[in-house]
């Protein structure tokens, strides 16, 4: 296999390679990116090695624009801070960077999502008597509320793509306006603090985007899957009228960068 810019064929890449390549494509050169542990680290590193060398990576624990020579396994890792321009704390990242409006792009995940991009990472069932507890918000709600664009990385399952999530941990395009709880567009909830919101959802089957109303639609389907597969694994009525084609697979060069440069130890890549 030569490290060319040709696209790899089915069987020559793993699902996670395609996810990393698709996520990396969402990074524009010069973006200030707020990233979490795992796949987002692969995506930002891949983008920085290819088309976005000037992207700046912020990890919420406090490091800004680090140049890790070893892949971090945690956002609090000393590896994140190696060669960083600044290493402070969470007041700096959440207020000095995010609230003050520097952040262009955030990568997030979640257990459940609705068609507005509202994400649940807190509980299943009734919050006051839950059947399962997950991690809770962490920075998910903050990043989704203030980054200009967010990319949500999810597992495609009917029980995860729901009409209503059990608990809105993290804000999408239509939200509850407190104290009354009436539904409102994000712009009405955030007023002049509005910066943007979710722009893409990437799963193991497809890439979704959001229309002018803030409603999710299917954009591309990964090689090996069909529109029907995606519909069958979505729990709400999915708009498939705007499908633009197949998700671009990773190139040989991208696979080479991922396995030999970004994650040679096999921390996130098998």
């Amino acid at each position: 296999m030569t490290a060319s810019n040709e696209y790899a064929k089915i069987g020559e890449f793993k699902p996670i390679d395609l996810l990393a390549a698709a996520a990396a494509r969402e990074v524009n050169d010069g973006d200030v990116v707020f990233a979490g542990t795992g796949l987002p680290m692969l995506a930002i590193a891949l983008a920085q090695n290819e088309h976005a060398p000037n992207a700046v990576c912020i990890y919420e624990a406090g490091s800004i624009d680090g140049r890790p020579i070893d892949l971090p396994t945690s956002v609090g890792d000393a590896r994140c801070a190696y060669q960083s321009s600044k290493a402070g704390g969470l007041f700096e990242t959440f207020y000095g960077q995010l609230h003050s409006g520097y952040v262009d792009l955030g990568f997030l995940g979640g257990a459940e999502i609705d068609k507005y991009g509202n994400v649940n990472t807190t509980i299943l069932g009734d919050y006051n008597k839950p059947s399962v507890r997950f991690t809770g918000s962490g920075g998910n709600a903050d990043i989704n509320s203030f980054a200009r664009r967010t990319v949500l990385i999810m597992v495609q399952e009917k029980r995860r793509f729901k009409e209503n999530v059990d608990y809105i941990t993290s804000p999408g395009w239509r939200l509850k306006k407190w104290p009354t709880g009436e539904w409102a567009h994000k712009k009405d909830v955030y007023g002049k603090f509005f910066h943007g919101g979710p722009t893409a959802v990437i799963t193991n089957m497809a890439v979704f985007r959001f229309d002018e109303e803030g409603i999710m639609y299917l954009d591309t389907v990964h090689p090996g899957f069909t529109v029907e597969d995606v519909k069958n694994n979505t729990g709400f009525d999915l708009n498939v009228s705007r499908v633009s084609g197949e998700t671009t697979p990773p190139t040989y060069k991208q696979i080479d960068i991922l396995y030999n440069k970004v994650d040679p130890e096999g921390i996130f890549l098998p």
């Binding site: 704390g89 007041f91 995010l98 399962v132 809770g136 918000s137 407190w178 002049k192 096999g266």
Partner: protein, 325 residues
């Protein structure tokens, strides 16, 4: 010239009362005051109230032991070494702990207000979410917002209209001023100056917000050494009350510049403590059946500790096997 007030680990844990509100240094699996937590559990501390910007290994250990009555925070887990906090999950599902959720930014706002001595901090982060749903105000539903506990605000939050620049709705998040800050830092000077060797997380906010501060450290160093580079220091001696010296006190969490986090230990903890029986067995082995830090380190063994020791050049270990290749 001040002098660090050095006490023993047992004395430090002994000052903490049942029901006290605690906050910690560190971030998820980094720079947590683990040996102090173990000693508190050996002394049977209970009914504790934890305020955490985010939880991690140390609070999972305390929650699993049944020592925590109130937990307010934004997150619980061990990142990729334990994707959810299995002990909090078990206790919350069983109704054995009172939980109140915030976003990370909300929690940062609360500890910053506490650190500054102001009663609230304004933020527009995470508006429109169920974190602000009045039905899900865990402490309020438990009747804890009646003003009788000075560590619990009368309101979970307040929404006001920005009175200055017409920005729209903004949240006021109440300050938190814990009874104790339990801080792990690698170095403390002879006069009590504190240094950490990487990201500062919320450590200085936590120690300023708390009524009393205990710092557990790897070593005492001459204060004049730390004063050669004052901009690198986390806290001045007058901000802290007690110091405990205890090498490897943060294990299995990591201390940048000294040792890496013990990934195998953390993964194993998350795996075997999913049930209460599993937790109890684990805690008997690593906490209750151990006399103190020396015996704990002997159990770990020199080989394991040497693998965790940080490279002096990089601040992290280059000898641990982290992935599959």
């Amino acid at each position: 010239m001040g002098k660090a007030n050095i006490i023993t680990l047992k004395e430090a844990a002994g000052m903490i009362n049942d029901g006290d509100c605690l906050a910690f240094s560190g971030f998820t699996i980094w720079r947590r005051p683990c040996q102090l937590i173990y000693e508190m559990l050996r002394q049977g501390k209970k009914d504790l109230h934890l305020f955490e910007v985010q939880g991690g290994y140390q609070s999972e250990v305390m929650v699993g032991a049944g020592a925590v009555r109130l937990w307010e925070s934004s997150w619980m887990g061990q990142e990729i070494l334990g994707k959810t906090g299995v002990n909090l999950s078990r206790k919350q599902v069983n109704g054995e702990i009172i939980v109140d959720d915030y976003s990370h930014g909300h929690a940062v706002a609360r500890i910053m207000a506490g650190a500054c001595g102001i009663p609230f901090f304004p933020t527009a982060l995470a508006m429109g979410t169920d974190i602000l749903n009045p039905e899900y105000d865990g402490f309020g539903r438990a009747g804890l917002r009646d003003g009788s506990n000075p560590k619990i605000a009368r309101n979970k939050y307040e929404i006001i209209k920005d009175p200055c620049f017409d920005m729209g709705d903004i949240l006021l998040m109440p300050a938190i001023n814990p009874n104790w800050a339990l801080i792990y830092a690698p170095m403390v000077g002879t006069e009590g100056t504190v240094r950490v060797l990487a990201q500062s997380y919320n450590d200085s906010d936590v120690l300023k917000a708390a009524d009393k501060v205990i710092v557990i450290c790897e070593e005492i160093v001459p204060d004049e050494y730390l004063r050669q580079e004052p901009s690198q220091n986390l806290a001045a001696g007058h901000e802290i009350d007690y110091v405990v010296v205890c090498p490897w006190a943060a294990h299995p969490t990591g201390s940048q510049g000294y040792y890496d986090c013990d990934a195998d230990f953390l993964r194993e903890f998350n795996k075997v403590t999913r049930t209460q029986e599993g937790y109890d067995k684990w805690a008997e082995e690593w906490i209750y059946g151990v006399s103190g830090p020396d015996e704990y380190l002997e159990k770990l063994g020199i080989t394991r500790l040497e693998q965790l020791r940080a490279s002096a050049a990089l601040g992290y270990s280059t000898r641990t096997k982290r992935g599959t290749r």
